[in-house]
């Protein structure tokens, strides 16, 4: 589809129309902008070598790298339960899930690299505390039921957010999201299954499940970002066909899905104000503590320091390994050159 759409967008600068030497930089920019605008109007795709506005590049780089960082930091709360998973089957599923997240981080860093920043630089920014990642991962995974609640609510919210990103205007991002969303849906299902099993288990297990849902519900709703009237970047992202739906729209859809699913689980949402508004045809929820959201975002959450330190430590402890691999690779290249000479 994307390729077909591109064909309806002729006159790409540099491709079909060589810029004349005397036209200068301004003309190049103007042609680029015109091409970019047509791609946006046709809801087609921008690819890495296409001209793009600096702000578009910057926005995408920020969003994709934040997404990658979220996958990497997001491994930690679940890795916390790999060693204690209560059955071997659950252990295998959890290991596979956390491993998938490393894979998602890899695709996303690769997508971000096509915008001109290296993975090393992004990793350095993360470790230096300069880059953000999803606030949700600054909450602790306290019980086994948190593996269920994270899968069901956190991955569920992520899917709502990410499915529309499969159509994002930047090609590498959209394509990475297609693959990621497939795996995320498996992640959500396994979370749902964990909770269902607990809910149908002993009273202590059911209590554990309800407690986890109670703790993760509000943070999961806040994953969609601030309310629309307090989300300054959303409008531009929607104009650029990166974001397709507003934060509140996605949040409302998510609440509607959870309302249905929590009944099947035999659990409740910790929100007495959830209702379907017949006038707006939208699901509504009770007030969220946006002050808490801002606090966690500013670094004052329960696990911010712990999460970054763990990433930093893995990075530092592994430095000698990466140096060894680089040194070995360089020596191999030299050997091949000597052999060829």
């Amino acid at each position: 589809m994307a390729a077909q759409n591109l064909q309806s967008v002729p006159d790409q600068p540099g491709a079909t129309q060589e810029p004349k030497p005397n036209e200068g930089q301004d003309q190049l920019e103007a042609d680029g902008q015109a091409y970019f605008d047509r791609v946006m109007a046709d809801d087609s795709r921008i690819e890495p070598k296409d001209w793009m506005p600096a702000a578009y590049r910057k926005t995408l780089l920020r969003q994709i790298s934040q997404h990658a960082h979220s996958e990497i930091i997001g491994m930690q709360p679940e890795a916390n339960w790999i060693s204690r998973a209560p059955s071997l089957k659950r252990k295998a599923i959890l290991m596979a899930k956390v491993q998938d997240e490393a894979g998602h981080g890899l695709y996303l860093y690769s997508a971000a690299e096509t915008l001109g920043q290296s993975r090393d630089q992004m990793m350095d920014d993360l470790i230096a505390g300069k880059a953000r990642y999803s606030s949700i991962f600054n909450y602790p995974a306290l019980t086994w039921a948190d593996m269920g609640a994270i899968g069901w609510l956190v991955d569920g919210a992520a899917i709502c957010n990410q499915v529309p990103l499969c159509r994002a205007s930047y090609g590498p991002y959209g394509r990475a999201m297609v693959r990621i969303c497939k795996e995320e849906s498996f992640h959500q299902r396994q979370g749902f299954e964990i909770l269902l099993e607990l809910s149908n288990g002993t009273p202590a297990q059911k209590q554990m499940a309800q407690d986890a849902v109670n703790r993760w519900y509000a943070p999961a709703l806040m994953m969609f970002g601030p309310p629309d009237d307090d989300s300054p970047n959303s409008k531009q992202s929607m104009a650029w066909n990166i974001k397709r739906f507003s934060n509140d729209e996605l949040r409302s859809r998510f609440v509607g899905m959870m309302v249905e699913q929590v009944r099947v689980l035999g659990l409740t949402l910790p929100d007495s104000e959830v209702r379907f508004n017949e006038d707006t045809k939208k699901w509504e929820h009770g007030p969220l503590d946006w002050n808490e959201f801002k606090e966690v975002l500013a670094g004052r959450g329960p696990c911010n320091s712990q999460r970054l330190e763990r990433r930093r430590q893995a990075h530092d402890d592994g430095a000698w390994v990466r140096e060894a691999a680089a040194s070995y690779a360089a020596k191999q290249v030299n050997k091949q050159k000597e052999y060829a000479a």
Binding site: I72, M75, Q76, A79, I82, S83, R84, A85, P86, S87, L88, K89, R90, K91, A92, M95, A96, V98, Q99, A102, G103, G105, L106, Y109, W144, I194, E197, L198, G201, T202, A204, Q205, R310, Q313, A314, D317, G318, A319, W320, V321, R322, E323, A324, A325, A326, S327, Y328, A329, K331, Q332
Partner: protein
């Protein structure tokens, strides 16, 4: 029991390992996490066969399966710790994959063994006490730094490859089927650890020093892997198992080739006595089990 011929050598990966044997089965990407519908033998299939009486191990075979299952389980538990802590993201994925493969083998062997005593894989994993585990000491050795983990994995994968390769010929159809699946995966583990031994030994001064130290720490526990006892002798005579001592020559030859290419010496360190097959473990296993079993034991009888 006959020993299958080693298949044609095909190296793979982006660096040439130049090692006979590494990647011998040719499919280096074979893994438990890869979806292979139709021919993947799942632990659940074995549990079902056991429950419905289609397969039931003899007491001896169950004891033997317990050893192999415990080796893989304890190693998976160790390796799982690396996920989110590896030197680079690619290694989070790779070590996670190896841990998952090992866990899959453990689940298959334990599901089968459990059939002899009307138990489940989880009964065996979560409700046995330390002295009832039959893993060799090598598998419970701490991860240490990345070089120690690689040294341990290198030894394990060459040992398991030789073992499973022969076990595919077992007269016990279930052991043979588990081994047939496992050997493809372990072949990939061999390739992975060999590449890292070469990289670390031939990388920087520091990595070489650490690799040498890693092998020194691990090597005392190599001998136990190749010790025969009454059980293995009985089972080997029946054609169901492999005499551990019969694996040693190939193990020494193939690991020796890698040591040679890496310009490393086989560590000259005294062997530890072992005892894992009789339930005598090192100080490490108790902690591994305490962590692994804590939640299941808080809720006895619960299902998850």
């Amino acid at each position: 029991m006959s020993t299958p011929e080693t298949q044609e050598i095909t190296g793979h990966g982006d660096i040439s390992v130049g090692v006979a044997g590494a990647g011998a089965s040719g499919d280096g990407s074979a893994s438990a996490t890869r979806i292979t519908p139709g021919n993947a033998l799942r632990p659940e299939d074995i549990a079902l066969e056991v429950r419905t009486g289609l397969a039931r191990p003899t007491e001896d075979v169950a004891e033997y399966a317990l050893r192999l299952g415990d080796d893989a389980l304890i190693l998976a538990q160790r390796l799982g710790h690396w996920i989110s802590r590896a030197p680079e993201l690619e290694e989070d994925v790779a070590l996670g994959n190896i841990a998952l493969d090992q866990l899959g083998h453990a689940r298959s062997f334990l599901s089968y063994a459990a059939g002899a005593w009307d138990k489940t894989e989880d009964d065996l994993a979560y409700f046995r006490r330390e002295h009832e585990f039959r893993s060799a000491h090598l598998f419970e050795q701490p991860n240490g730094d990345f070089a120690v983990t690689i040294a341990r994995q290198f030894v394990v994968s060459y040992y398991q490859f030789e073992l499973y390769r022969r076990l595919t010929q077992s007269t016990d159809a279930t052991l043979a089927a588990i081994a047939a699946k496992a050997v493809k995966e372990v072949d990939y583990h061999r390739d992975h650890s060999t590449q890292w031994v070469l990289r670390l030994a031939g990388g920087t001064d520091e990595s070489r020093r650490r690799m040498i130290h890693g092998f020194k720490l691990i090597w005392p526990y190599v001998g136990e892997l190749f010790v025969d006892d009454e059980l293995t002798t009985r089972l080997t005579q029946a054609g169901a198992a492999v005499e551990p001592s019969s694996l040693r020559a190939d193990f020494d030859r193939l690991t020796g080739e890698v040591f040679q290419e890496a310009e490393l010496e086989v560590p000259d360190v005294p062997a530890a006595p072992g005892g894992g097959r009789r339930g005598q473990h090192s100080e490490h296993l108790g902690y591994v089990l305490a962590e692994m079993q804590v939640l299941a034991r808080e809720h006895p009888g619960a299902s998850w």
